[in-house]
């Protein structure tokens, strides 16, 4: 716990350190997702934490969307490269699994940007109740609006799309195919 005295002392002693930490955070927050370049990792909910140690080393914590997400390596590279450009020479990117990522962690601005890019944003992630996980034998009952024309008359072509996190749908009104960020 940080007491008022300690906070004051650290603010007096290390304004530069705090500025550096804020800068590292700001830089990390500009890094975008390699597969969804319209979103930052922060908006995607993948960027968990950015810390700067007293010795200047930066530790960034991210969490994968899916266990096998191949973009994690590219995210690490991009974070390190962007921070290196900003003068942070010692950067460690850690990948954590807990708590597991869910689509509910995508921010409001992230959802708007997905829709603007033609990808229907996810609805609320399914809530687990107790007991066995129920089968879903038909198309999900949630309405997915067409990101182009806004029609609610869309159907699922395939639950698996170009990346693990998206499904493929079709709008029956404007007849365009589109991707849907599926709930996880």
């Amino acid at each position: 716990m940080v007491t008022g005295d300690q906070a004051t002392a650290s603010a007096v002693q290390a304004p530069a350190a705090e500025a550096r930490a804020a800068k590292a955070r700001a830089v990390a927050e500009t890094v975008t997702d390699p597969e969804l370049p319209m979103l930052t990792l922060r908006e995607l909910g993948v960027l968990r934490d950015v810390r700067v140690a007293p010795d200047g080393a930066v530790e960034v914590t991210i969490t994968p969307t899916y266990t096998g997400c191949p973009a994690v390596q590219a995210m690490r590279d991009d974070l390190r490269a962007r921070l290196a450009e900003a003068g942070f020479t010692r950067v460690e990117v850690r990948t954590v699994l807990h708590p597991p990522w869910t689509t509910d962690m995508i921010s409001e601005s992230g959802r708007r940007k997905l829709a603007a890019a033609g990808i229907a944003p996810p609805g609320p992630a399914p809530r687990r109740t107790s007991g066995p996980i129920p089968l879903t034998l038909g198309p999900p009952r949630t309405v997915v609006r067409c990101p182009r024309c806004g029609s609610r008359d869309t159907d699922e072509l395939s639950r698996f799309g170009s990346t693990a996190c998206k499904s493929l749908r079709r709008c029956r009104a404007c007849r365009e195919p589109f991707e849907h960020f599926k709930e996880l």
């Binding site: 899916y66 096998g68 994690v72 390190r80 490269a81 990948t95 954590v96 699994l97 395939s158």
Partner: protein
């Protein structure tokens, strides 16, 4: 060792630090950053278990925990391989993408579990060491996953059985006292729920489809069912892990499995096959006793790694 390259360079520095290197673009920074050279067949997580308490919990020794992680990890790895074999063979493009996505999810699960195994048994073997440098007798996957690819009906019936069984196991494993198993299971549950739904919908479409699709589904049920008994026959390792509150005794998920399968097959107008002769304990994949086809699978899976040890690209 090439693997060490993935843990960043010795000073922990990144970026354009070499003398004379221009500072600036992301490309420069990457080009200078030899710390993240990709190993030929490993990528991504330099420490897949970061942020988790990786001490071996009390109640079992590390060898038992490791053996259990190998069982669940090998199931995922080998099932993933058989699904990957559908690339360029699926009946339609959307299905090819779906099968590849499912295979990728399972590969991710395998990587976490194999990493945990190599760490828990104290040998320090990596996920790659375990996937690519073990012989057939050291693999602990059930035999269901090693049967050859078969036709699309076989693929879907096997996936339905596998995903229904694994989802029930992982769902219970989220309560494991081992933080690594619990975290891996929590992620896996969400993924495998999609896999099970996908296989269930195809089972219904094909079982209640044309005369030919139905004929093939009936043949696939006949081919898969003799492997089902093994899934629910607990191995000594699984029993001990369950007793310690760390793992799941697979015999306890049988009722849930039967219930889900009965629902799907009824909807598909397919009969639930009779259970074949019970599995003989001590003579299955969990004991390292595999089928002849498994040798051929491993030869392909491991060929690059064995031909070029430690190669990077």
């Amino acid at each position: 060792m090439a693997r060490d390259d993935l843990t960043a360079d010795p000073t922990g520095t990144v970026g354009p630090t070499a003398a004379g290197a221009p500072a600036g673009t992301a490309l420069d920074a990457l080009a200078e950053d030899h710390g993240d050279a990709r190993w030929a067949y490993g990528t991504g997580f330099h420490d897949p278990l970061a942020g988790l308490d990786t001490a071996v919990p009390d109640g079992v020794d590390g060898d038992v925990l490791a053996a259990y992680c190998l069982m669940l990890g090998d199931d995922a790895l080998i099932m993933s391989h058989r699904l990957q074999e559908w690339c360029a063979h699926a009946p339609e493009l959307e299905e090819e993408v779906a099968l590849a996505n499912i295979a990728l999810d399972l590969l991710g699960q395998a990587r976490l579990l194999l990493t945990r195994a190599g760490q828990a048994d104290g040998t320090g073997r990596t996920e790659d060491d375990l996937a690519f440098l073990r012989d057939a007798g050291e693999f602990r996957n059930v035999r269901l996953v090693e049967a050859p690819r078969g036709d699309f009906a076989f693929c879907m019936v096997r996936l339905l059985v596998f995903a229904t069984w694994r989802l029930a196991l992982l769902d219970r494993l989220t309560a494991s006292r081992d933080p690594v198993l619990a975290a891996a299971a929590a992620k896996g549950v969400k993924e495998v729920a999609y896999h099970r739904d996908h296989a269930a919908m195809w089972t219904i479409r094909l079982g209640d489809g044309t005369a030919e699709s139905r004929r093939r589904m009936l043949a696939a049920l006949d081919a898969v069912w003799p492997q089902v008994g093994e899934l629910f026959t607990p191995h000594e390792v699984e029993r001990r892990m369950a007793e310690a509150g760390l793992g799941v005794d697979p015999s306890t998920v049988r009722a849930e499995f039967d219930h889900v399968i009965a629902d799907v097959l009824a909807e598909a107008t397919l009969p639930v096959p009779d259970l074949a002769a019970p599995h003989e304990p001590g003579r299955g994949g969990r004991d390292g006793v595999h089928t002849a086809e498994f040798d051929a699978l491993l030869a392909e899976l491991q060929s690059v790694a064995r031909a070029h040890p430690g190669a990077t690209w």
